[in-house]
């Protein structure tokens, strides 16, 4: 793959010009949390595309194909992951079980990483709701890494920019599926526009009991799960049953 096919995040300036002047757009986004959104903006919010993912953990066999495909797609450096699979083992022999929880950035509708970024390098693309990092602006201050409740971000040890899953913009914009979806051997990942009621993902979300991770943080994630086991190791404390969470990351613990 040559460089031109990489996601072109610097096009945002152009998008903002379309939205009525770069300065006005910046001011509007800066004030967005103060003033209630104007009529025009709220309609735009409803009608635009919001990409999301539905992960059916019943179909996941914990093979790490997604993690490997993502690593290969972006040449993600050693020790960091945009996509990873956590194992939750629990119970006492012989009543034991192991659940798999594939993880990635949730492309939140209220992303705190965006709210805290001092340079505007992290932003939510208005055209498709994907949260991206503009590597031309990022200074590597790591504020977004601290603020993401899902630990989905990291400082790329090679480029020293904040980095994370970008829903494979370079593939999606050409009509391909994200690499992790494409490679999932269990068919556990469904990718699509959650704002389009006719899409496969919207129909599956409507038909199943779904959850998002840490809904209480107010981030409004766009990655949904069917039967996600969110048991935490801390629940081990009363000793009634055993829990062991393996994150398969260099950061050994969930945070």
């Amino acid at each position: 793959m040559n460089d031109q096919e990489k996601p072109d995040t610097s096009r945002r300036g152009f998008v903002q010009l379309l939205a009525g002047g770069a300065v006005a757009a910046t001011a509007a986004s800066a004030l967005g949390s103060l003033a209630p959104a104007g009529g025009a903006e709220s309609t735009a919010k409803q009608s635009r595309i919001q990409y999301g993912m539905l992960i059916d953990t019943r179909r996941c066999i914990g093979c790490h194909s997604c993690s490997v495909a993502c690593k290969a797609e972006f040449d993600v450096p050693l020790g960091v992951n945009k996509s990873w699979v956590e194992y939750t083992e629990k119970g006492t022999f012989p009543n034991v079980n192991r659940h798999f929880l594939p993880r990635l950035c949730n492309h939140c509708s209220e992303p705190q990483c965006v709210a805290v970024c001092p340079t505007g390098a992290t932003y939510k693309r208005p055209q498709d709701g994907i949260v991206v990092v503009d590597s031309g602006l990022c200074i590597g201050c790591k504020y977004c890494i601290q603020a993401c409740p899902y630990d989905a971000r990291f400082l790329n040890p090679v480029t020293n920019f904040a980095d994370k899953c970008d829903f494979c913009i370079h593939r999606v914009s050409k009509g391909l599926l994200p690499s992790c979806v494409n490679s999932c051997i269990g068919g556990a990942r469904i990718f699509g526009d959650v704002n389009d009621p006719e899409s496969e993902i919207s129909r599956q979300i409507a038909a199943n009991a779904v959850t998002v991770l840490r809904p209480g943080k107010g981030t409004e994630p766009n990655v949904y799960y069917i039967e996600a086991d969110i048991t935490e190791q801390a629940e081990n404390s009363d000793g009634s049953y055993r829990v062991r969470v393996t994150t398969h990351r260099s950061i050994k613990e969930r945070r």
Partner: protein, 310 residues
């Protein structure tokens, strides 16, 4: 183990910028307070102005190299948004420039030219609110993240301001003790200065105690994320000994008791205030050490804890 994305440079920045901003704020407030003040109070204003900007600049230098892209730091000035880091950066930049000018105005001891005295006052009016902004924004910055339950509290910003003012006061106290005029005719003025500094610092330390008590009490009475997070500094937690020995005992209780011991005879019984060099230096150093320990604990504790449920 959890990853520490923010390490020693950030801790030192929080400590040094707080100290410097605190010293300049104290200096400006003393300068601007009209009437009732002995001539010698000028010394407090002068020392605060002269020492304040240095730690702020040093801390800023350090934190730039904590960035993944230090040579891009100027990107911060391409825009201003509602991120506490963005607002804080602008305040910090303004503060560095204005407090630098303010310090330059204090290089000559006497305001020989009338415009110099005026310049000092104008700059003091600007430096006091900016100094408080620099001291407070770091607490807002850390407190703004629900992903970090240990930090996610508005009281953190209050704690940071109090700690900045008290370390700033301690730094002035130390400078006056070490470099202030020691000749006999200055004795009274000097003791006046120390009385003001020591009593203000006792007040600030009292405030810190109150805030820490509230922080611990609310964390302890609640359940879930915050309770779980605060356990790292409660007895048995991994940071407990540094917190209780370093912050509470050395950083607050010891200097607070010593300061009361010095201040109370004059405050309550109108006796003459007696200060001793050894005590001044010891109190100032312990406040500074405690201030550093506090920043260390808070930066580390926030990162080694997280929400308890997925």
């Amino acid at each position: 183990m959890h990853e520490l994305n923010w390490g020693l440079p950030v801790i030192l920045y929080l400590f040094l910028a707080g100290l410097g901003a605190g010293a300049v704020t104290v200096s400006g407030s003393v300068l601007l307070r009209k009437g009732g003040f002995h001539d010698s109070r000028m010394d407090i204003a002068r020392y605060g102005a002269l020492i304040g900007p240095i730690p702020v600049m040093l801390g800023t230098f350090l934190i730039v190299f904590e960035l993944g892209q230090p040579f891009r730091a100027l990107n911060l000035f391409k825009m201003i948004n509602l991120s506490p880091m963005s607002i804080g950066t602008w305040a910090l930049a303004l503060f560095i420039i204005l407090s630098g000018l303010y310090a330059i105005c204090f290089i000559p001891r006497q305001a020989t030219w009338p415009w110099l005295g005026k310049a000092r006052r104008v700059l003091a009016w600007l430096c006091v609110p900016l100094g408080i902004s620099v001291a407070i924004y770091t607490g807002v910055l850390l407190g703004a993240m629900p992903a970090r339950p240990f930090w996610n509290s508005p009281i953190l910003a209050g704690l940071f301001v109090l700690s900045a003012l008290s370390t700033g006061t301690a730094a002035i106290m130390l400078t006056v003790a070490l470099f202030g005029e020691k000749s006999a005719e200055h004795r009274e003025g000097r003791e006046n200065d120390q009385y003001l500094l020591v009593s203000s610092d006792a007040l600030l330390l009292g405030g810190e105690m109150l805030v820490i008590f509230l922080f611990l009490m609310f964390a302890h009475l609640t359940i879930g994320d915050v309770r779980h997070a605060v356990e790292v500094i409660l007895p048995g937690g991994s940071l407990a000994s540094l917190f209780w020995w370093g912050v509470v005992l050395i950083g607050i209780l010891f200097p607070f008791v010593m300061e009361l011991f010095q201040v109370v005879p004059k405050l309550l019984y109108g006796r003459t205030f007696r200060s001793s060099l050894v005590l001044e230096v010891a109190v100032a150093l312990s406040v500074l050490a405690g201030g550093f320990a506090l920043r260390y604990i808070i930066v580390v504790a926030g990162q080694v804890t997280g929400p308890t449920t997925l």
